[in-house]
């Protein structure tokens, strides 16, 4: 670089404009190897930079040169990884960014799940709750418990709450749902709350009358679709082996009455599903969905006991996930917009300053903070998985009972405090120095279920193994092809 040495009256010498050459200061960051050639540096507020392996070593050893490494240096400055001023003038900005990342905490519990009945007409082998016959009234939520659940929901500081009806098969207790919707509507108006209703249903028993009611009350439908017919029916047992047919017809009917956007589907991954990643994605595309949530099978309920059928290795799931994701990306390359939802949740945290309310991918975790479950028998649980554990007689995450516990006792009681000790990954061994901490979360329920300890042991945790590899893989993909980052950004933009 040429340097003007002769002073000029009009222009100062260029070195006058150079910043003070004191060594740079590190700002808090973490790093992780993405490939043998690349590592990712993630700032405390979630900004990131993919750099050649060894960059952090150079950075910490003060070997980076602001002239020779000008581009990298500027990127590090811009991403809050270093500062070249003695003080940190952007501390206010960083603090605001940090707070934004945690803004999901501002409003507290939004999702209130009412398990209106345990009855179900399916006999799925992996069902996560005890199945009982379709005509057993003993497993339906009483109106007194509905009233008490609504009263608690109205005490949530959150101005926008969601009331989600689950089962068993929730539509087998449709009269209970109608009662709950009517009561909640009145109460929400009195308390100045906005309320969203969701029914989770396999749609097998849906009728035009039910759909008309959903339409009048703007109720969303969340159904289950596991893949093509042979797979869906193998996963979801019904006497006539017609689960797929009923679901697909139900989706069409529901869309016709409620509108396309008000009907969503979730898939459950079984051992059999693991062999058919592409067929599953294609089925979702065929059914007119523009996204799929590739969920690992949960190790709760009957799934834990049905070892031979349901035991699957996280490794196999990851293989399945990557194949499916590759196929989804191919569709996008060909111009068809189609999104994978688990990746999108993580990518939203990687590519935007904003958080996303997803129970297992936030810290503090979403149980109690974001979700609470009122079971059919009045018991209150910290999350959906927590009540599934309870169906196996494990009551570790029971917060209280609608008949006997107040809002304070349930949401701020001793059990909530015990869970709070382990729900922030910032303070968990292994996670505390993990670069993916901001994008990942904590899952005390899963760790309790699989390791017998809600704190969790990361080296053998399936939660950690899954998230660490998926997050690493998303970075690897973005590094490999800028087009993929553009596709990922379109997913994030669409999910807002």
């Amino acid at each position: 670089m040429s340097v003007i040495t002769k002073p000029s009256r009009k222009f100062k010498a260029s070195n006058e404009y150079q910043v003070d050459l004191t060594p740079y200061r590190l700002l808090p960051f973490r790093f992780h190897e993405v490939t043998p050639e690349k590592e990712v540096i993630v700032s405390e507020v979630g900004d990131w930079l993919l750099v050649p392996r060894g960059t952090v070593l150079r950075l910490v050893s003060r070997e980076l040169d602001r002239v020779q490494d000008a581009e990298l240096y500027a990127d590090l400055l811009a991403n809050f990884i270093i500062s070249d001023a003695a003080e940190v003038p952007l501390l206010d900005v960083m603090a605001t960014r940090y707070r934004t990342k945690k803004s999901f905490l501002d409003a507290f519990t939004a999702l209130h799940i009412f398990v209106v009945t345990l009855r179900c007409e399916h006999t799925c082998h992996y069902c996560q709750v005890s199945r009982v016959t379709a005509d057993n009234q003993a497993f339906t939520m009483s109106r007194a418990h509905i009233d008490k659940g609504i009263a608690l929901m109205m005490q949530s500081p959150n101005p926008h709450v969601t009331m989600e009806f689950q089962g068993g098969e929730a539509l087998l207790a449709f009269d209970t749902i109608v009662y709950a919707v009517e009561q909640a509507r009145v109460q929400a108006q009195m308390h100045g709350k906005q309320i969203t209703f969701v029914i989770c249903t396999n749609l097998a028993v849906v009728t035009p009358e039910i759909l008309a009611y959903c339409d009048q009350n703007q109720i969303l439908i969340s159904t289950s679709l596991d893949g093509p017919e042979f797979l869906h029916n193998a996963n979801r047992h019904r006497p006539k082996r017609n689960s797929y047919q009923l679901t697909v017809e139900g989706i069409a009917q529901a869309r016709a009455v409620l509108g396309h956007e008000r009907v969503s589907a979730l898939m459950t991954t079984s051992t059999l599903s693991l062999e058919h990643p592409i067929a599953i994605v294609d089925e979702y595309i065929r059914q007119g969905f523009n996204s799929i949530f590739l969920r690992p099978i949960s190790p709760y309920g009957f799934a834990l006991r049905s070892d031979k059928k349901n035991k699957y290795q996280t490794e196999r799931f990851l293989e399945f996930y990557k194949t499916a994701l590759g196929h989804i990306l191919d569709c996008n390359f060909k111009g068809q917009f189609f999104r994978e939802d688990y990746a999108t949740i993580i990518l939203r945290k990687i590519l935007t300053p904003f958080p996303i309310g997803y129970v297992d991918l936030q810290s503090p975790a979403g149980l109690i903070n974001g979700v609470v479950v009122f079971n059919y028998d009045g018991q209150v649980y910290a999350s959906d998985e927590a009540r599934m554990l309870a169906e196996m007689q494990d009551y570790e995450f029971r917060l209280g009972h609608l008949d006997t516990h107040s809002y304070e006792q349930i949401f701020y009681g001793s059990k909530a405090k015990q869970i709070a000790e382990v729900w922030s990954n910032e303070s968990l061994a292994g996670c505390s120095e993990c670069a993916f901490q901001t994008y990942c979360g904590a899952d005390p329920v899963l760790h309790h279920a699989t390791q017998g300890d809600m704190y969790g042991y990361r080296p053998t945790s399936v939660f950690c193994q899954k998230n660490m590899e998926i997050i690493r893989y998303l970075f690897e993909l973005m590094d490999a092809d800028p087009q993929i980052e553009r596709i990922f950004r379109s997913w994030v933009a669409d999910s807002n």
Binding site: T22, L26, F29, V88, D92, M94, T96, A429
Partner: protein, 141 residues
């Protein structure tokens, strides 16, 4: 050579190079595959990796690959320690400042009760800077 008959390995690590914290944090991640035994000595720390009882074959790796992984991991965890030491104050300030807005108490205006400057009223921009500059300087400055 695949380690189908894994002989336990023993490493002697110099305390001057690797702190106890670095060694514990590094070998924490080996606990899923190996039994990890850490024995602090006066000037060094001995780390032994062996196969858990009942396991006869080692994870799919060679001894060279395992040693190379350990070396890389030790460097990475040492770097993490250095970054942590150097940035701890800023991190604490950052988190405290981010959540200070949640306080509902009246602003405290004396420098003693408000050493970091969280509660300075609006209109006094960057009030934290003067306090912040008084913090210990980090390595290299």
């Amino acid at each position: 050579m695949p380690l189908d008959s894994f002989t336990p390995i023993e490493l002697r690590l110099d305390r001057a190079t690797y702190s106890e914290a670095v060694i514990y944090k590094c070998f924490y991640w080996y606990g899923g595959e190996y039994d990890v035994h850490i024995e602090p000595q006066a000037d060094s720390i001995i780390v032994r990796l062996s196969l858990p009882e009942g396991k006869t074959t080692a994870p799919n790796t060679t001894d060279e690959a395992l040693l190379s992984r350990i070396q890389n991991d030790l460097v990475d965890f040492k770097l993490r320690e250095l970054i942590g030491q150097e940035t701890q104050t800023i991190r604490e300030l950052l988190v405290a400042k981010a959540f200070a807005n949640y306080d509902t108490e009246q602003p405290l205006l004396t420098p003693v009760s408000d050493p970091v400057g969280f509660h300075f009223p609006e209109g006094e921009p960057s009030s934290y800077v003067s306090n912040y500059q008084a913090l210990p300087q980090v390595q290299g400055e």
